[in-house]
Amino acid sequence: MHDAEIINGLTNNYKHRSYFEKELYVQYEYFIKQGSSKYKLTYEDSFSAYSDAVLAAIQTIINNKFDSNYSLKAYLSQIFRNKCVDLIRKITNTKQKIHKSPVAPELLSHLPETAKNVISMLIDKEKIAHVSHYLDTIGKKCKEILLLSVDGYTDMQIADKLGYHNADVTKSTRLRCREKLNKLINATYE
């Protein structure tokens, strides 16, 4: 499938997004094998890095931030390489019993260096792993709405998917769910 078809499929009709996500995943799935041989990763680790890279690429495309001067292959290859390097560092540090993961949250890249350093120091990366547990405690609907939101769906699309009356109702519900989650995370920072 051509790049344009995948990009259009991901951005133009959210109802068929999942189909084009799979198309993108399958198109460059051979990266996994290359990652295994080039970076000496297990298949599982290389798969993990590749799927992480595909998710990052999808989110860039959906947010209309994909630079069309790149081919999807070149772009995905670049993210995949970075993810592999991150993973190797993480594995090495785990072996050396350095518990703090060096993998930085995706969002930090939005901040300029000075602000990034400040926020980074305030983030306890072990807390990130606890979020999965918190999501199970805030209710199924809340978990679903937050996952769809982070997956790049707009409030209107979420309303359509989950049967909310309109985008405003989705937004207020989503923010309320987010407050619940923030409250749980914040309690651990007290």
Partner: protein, 249 residues
């Protein structure tokens, strides 16, 4: 309580920053607050923690979904699970299975290949770059919803208003293929194949696919001839055509 309210109000503001919804001045102000206001910086840290945690959960869900379609090689630590003494028996069993597989599952038949190709490529049509062509887009949406009559009418409308629109022509043929009206599909694809000046012309290849799908007496021979033509002329579908021809040798 007041502190919690502040937290809630700021969630929307922090979200707006990370979604690039603030103007340049607002962005700078946000970044400055991260440096000067410790409480605010903590709220940003909580936001980033939540967002990354949700992303990790999302990634796990996607991984489960994609692992299902993955071509994972079946590598197992054989030494741990196979006793040396069993190896001759297993080798014999493998040989029997391999021979049986050769006879029973040699390769997909041409009809199966075409059928798989249609399912993979034509169950859903992707939307084109030309988003302004509303009728064509609506036709594609109708096709993807399996509303073939509506799709056909819309594609025909586009084609009648602009006979140079080869995409509409192709899609009319695909509707007929989906509804198993093979003669009409063949006619559309033949006309498409005869359209001069197209950068990519899938007409011949789609004719071959239709013939293989129909699978009447003589269709296979005609399809092979068409596929050979596709390979020679290097028209759209030539890679697939070459692969199929190689498999049927």
């Amino acid at each position: 309580m007041q502190r919690m309210n502040d937290l809630n109000e700021n969630t929307e503001y922090i979200e707006a920053y990370f979604k690039d919804q603030l103007n340049d001045a607002e962005k700078r102000q946000f970044e400055q607050r991260c440096l000067e206001d410790e409480l605010f910086a903590r709220q940003v840290a909580v936001f980033v923690t939540a967002e990354e945690g949700i992303r990790q959960e999302l990634l796990q869900q996607k991984q489960q979904e994609w692992a299902g379609i993955s071509q994972k090689p079946a590598i197992r630590p054989l030494k741990k699970i196979i006793s040396i003494r069993l190896l001759p028996y297993m080798a014999a069993a493998c040989l029997v299975i391999a021979i049986a597989s050769y006879f029973f599952f040699r390769s997909e038949t041409p009809n199966q290949l075409a059928n798989t190709y249609i399912k993979e490529h034509f169950t859903l049509l992707s939307q084109t770059m030309n988003a302004s062509n509303d009728t064509l887009q609506k036709g594609i949406a109708a096709y993807n919803n399996k509303e073939y009559n509506t799709a056909l009418q819309l594609f025909q409308k586009v084609y009648q208003s602009n006979p140079a629109n080869s995409k509409a022509k192709k899609n009319i043929g695909l509707v007929y293929l989906a509804t198993k009206e093979y003669e009409k599909a063949l006619q559309q694809f033949e006309e498409l194949a005869g359209t001069p000046g197209l950068y990519e012309n899938p007409g011949l290849f789609l004719m071959a696919v239709t013939l293989l799908e129909r699978n009447k007496t003589g269709d296979l021979a005609k399809a092979k001839a068409l596929l050979q033509q596709v390979v020679q002329q290097k028209t759209e579908g030539s890679k697939e055509a070459a692969r199929w021809l190689k498999e049927w040798r």
